[in-house]
């Protein structure tokens, strides 16, 4: 089971997009940086996707204070991403992702594909 907390300005859109996948081993929880931060410290198997206009303010926000900078990554307004990029981020221990709200459709599907295939392979690539 892969748990993903979604937060930030576009969390409803991200949640809807991920629920359309109808993936049985994907658990999506609408949350926020303040609530998901402490929860992710306890559940080592959870990830966070946050969205806002910059990709880091309301997206990551307090997440950097809770998790530390090394475990957070922002895609900013980047509009291209590959599964390989996602795997190398996961290899480096990143668990909280931030991205710009106008790039949700370009980034989120690839990001979650990457998370799922990483899990299937059982970790490090």
């Amino acid at each position: 089971m892969l748990t993903i907390y979604v937060g930030g300005v576009g969390k409803v859109d991200v949640k809807r997009l991920l629920e359309q996948r109808r993936s049985p081993d994907l658990k999506i929880i609408a949350s926020s940086d303040l609530e998901a931060g402490p929860a992710m410290k306890r559940n080592k198997d959870a990830y966070y996707i946050g969205t806002c206009h910059t990709g880091a303010g309301a997206s990551l926000g307090a997440m950097l204070a809770f998790m530390g900078r090394q475990k957070c990554h922002t895609f900013g307004r980047q509009s291209k991403l590959t599964t390989k990029d996602v795997h190398s981020l996961l290899d480096s221990g990143v668990r909280a992702f931030g991205l710009s709200i106008d790039q949700i459709n370009a980034i989120v599907p690839v990001l979650v594909d990457g998370l799922q295939s990483y899990k299937e392979k059982g970790g490090a690539s």
């Binding site: 926020s32 402490p38 806002c52 206009h53 990709g55 307090a62 900013g76 106008d102």
Partner: protein, 438 residues
């Protein structure tokens, strides 16, 4: 339209960017809400200056040229993206403390002088795109009236959103027919906003009751303790530098009071038309969308927002003179920083209110994108008729296809600027006859 910026604007723009750059150098405040969370590691020394510079540049550059520049050059009014995103970067890059305000001041000077030059050049050309941009304020005011309904629909469902939209429309109609002194768009916006606030508060109490009914209180307390300890230290750091923020508040309030600086995305166009009261109303509601974000990122990072909670915009637009603005600005920033930790504590318990704030920002973006696109196409039409519509709309659509290098909200204004340049060149080449000014 005045051709040159008045001396007061020039002086206070330079003072503002210089001081903002100093605050950013000291990791006390940045304008970019995305850069702020990283400042925690920066002022604790875990993130070195070169790395921090590349983070700040990466998160800001797109918004300087994709949002700040087009809005400024299409309205001839300054905006925070144009002034303070670069001052964030310059302050962080600057290796020495004394150099930061000098770099900031230099940027402020470049902006005011080039904006003045472009404005006077544009008004003397055969095709005047600045006059055409006056088309912008009607769609902004009337469409913006529905942003509360959009926010309600996003957070509380289609039914409530539709009801709110119908009420807003009814208010608009009634005001238009019987109270001509009030702007119908502004009145409808106020009505929608009141409905949104009522629903959010109602929902907050309902959630609180449900949460209490469930168990898990112990768990919640653990989380609270953890959050409090992180945030208390950061709030304390900011309070230590209270006088610095008061200076920033005073400088910024004077600049905003000149009406040559628009805080929100749309306000620049309203100010350009002299519509100060409506600009204040728009930026007041916009502030409700930013206060929780600013407060949370501030206590999580130990750095504040250069423009504070953004409440300074509506207040300073309306104050009668710059001296009063300076005093009120200083007091406001002082108060904001002083109550930061209490606000953060209160907000961490109000999850519906925090969500409402996020949806307000989202809904503002959504409605403004429509309004600014429509206004830009109307400006294209005012400049050159059908072919003007084609150029502006075409550039907007191309930007979408290119993966949106320009922020959607600014794609229309970029289209207008490009169309303005293009039609002037064509007019000089006798390939295009400018339309008679309306």
């Amino acid at each position: 339209m005045t051709l040159h910026l008045p001396p007061l604007v020039i002086i206070f723009t330079i003072l503002c960017t210089a001081f903002a750059s100093l605050l950013s150098h000291m990791a006390l405040a940045v304008f970019n809400d995305g850069v702020r969370p990283f400042l925690l590691d920066f002022h604790q020394g875990e993130l070195k200056r070169p790395q921090m510079s590349s983070i700040a540049f990466g998160l800001s550059a797109g918004f300087i040229f994709g949002l700040g520049v087009p809005i400024a050059f299409s309205s001839s009014v300054l905006n925070p993206w144009l002034l303070f995103l670069p001052s964030d970067i310059l302050g962080i890059i600057s290796p020495k403390k004394w150099l930061a305000p000098i770099l900031g001041a230099a940027w402020g000077a470049i902006v005011v002088f080039s904006l003045g030059a472009v404005t006077s050049a544009a008004t003397s050309l055969p095709v005047n795109f600045l006059d055409a941009m006056q088309q912008m304020s009607t769609p902004i005011l009337y469409l913006f009236a529905f942003f509360p309904s959009v926010a309600i629909a996003m957070q509380f469902g289609k039914l409530r959103g539709s009801i709110a939209a119908i009420i807003s429309f009814a208010v608009m109609l009634v005001i238009m027919k019987w109270v001509p002194a009030i702007n119908p768009g502004a009145a409808a916006m106020a009505a929608g906003m009141i409905i949104l606030v009522i629903i959010a508060i109602f929902q907050e109490f309902k959630n609180r009751k449900e949460a209490k009914a469930e168990a898990g209180e112990e768990d919640a307390e653990d989380v609270e303790d953890e959050t409090d300890s992180i945030f208390a230290a950061n709030a304390k750091r900011l309070r230590k530098y209270l006088p610095m923020f008061m200076v920033m508040g005073a400088l910024l309030a004077v600049l905003v009071n000149t009406h040559k600086f628009g805080g929100g995305e749309a306000t620049s166009y309203l100010l350009a038309k002299g519509d100060y009261a409506n600009a204040a109303q728009v930026d007041f509601y916009r502030a409700l969308g930013f206060i929780p974000l600013v407060v949370t990122t501030a206590v999580a990072s130990g750095a504040y927002q250069i423009v504070g909670s953004t409440l300074i915009y509506p207040i300073a637009y309306l104050l009668p003179n710059p001296i009063l603005a300076a005093i009120v600005g200083a007091l406001l920033f002082g108060l904001e920083v002083f109550v930061l930790s209490y606000l953060a504590k209160g907000l961490s318990k109000l999850s519906t209110v925090r969500d409402a704030s996020d949806t307000i920002r989202n809904a503002i973006t959504l409605t403004l994108e429509v309004a600014i696109l429509f206004g830009s196409i109307a400006a294209g039409n005012a400049m050159a008729g059908g072919i003007g519509i084609a150029v502006v709309g075409g550039i907007y659509a191309l930007n979408e296809a290119f993966g949106r290098p320009i922020v959607r909200m600014a794609a229309g204004p970029v289209g207008v600027i490009i169309a303005g340049i293009l039609f002037n060149i064509l007019a000089y080449a006798h390939l295009f006859t400018p339309l008679a000014a309306k």
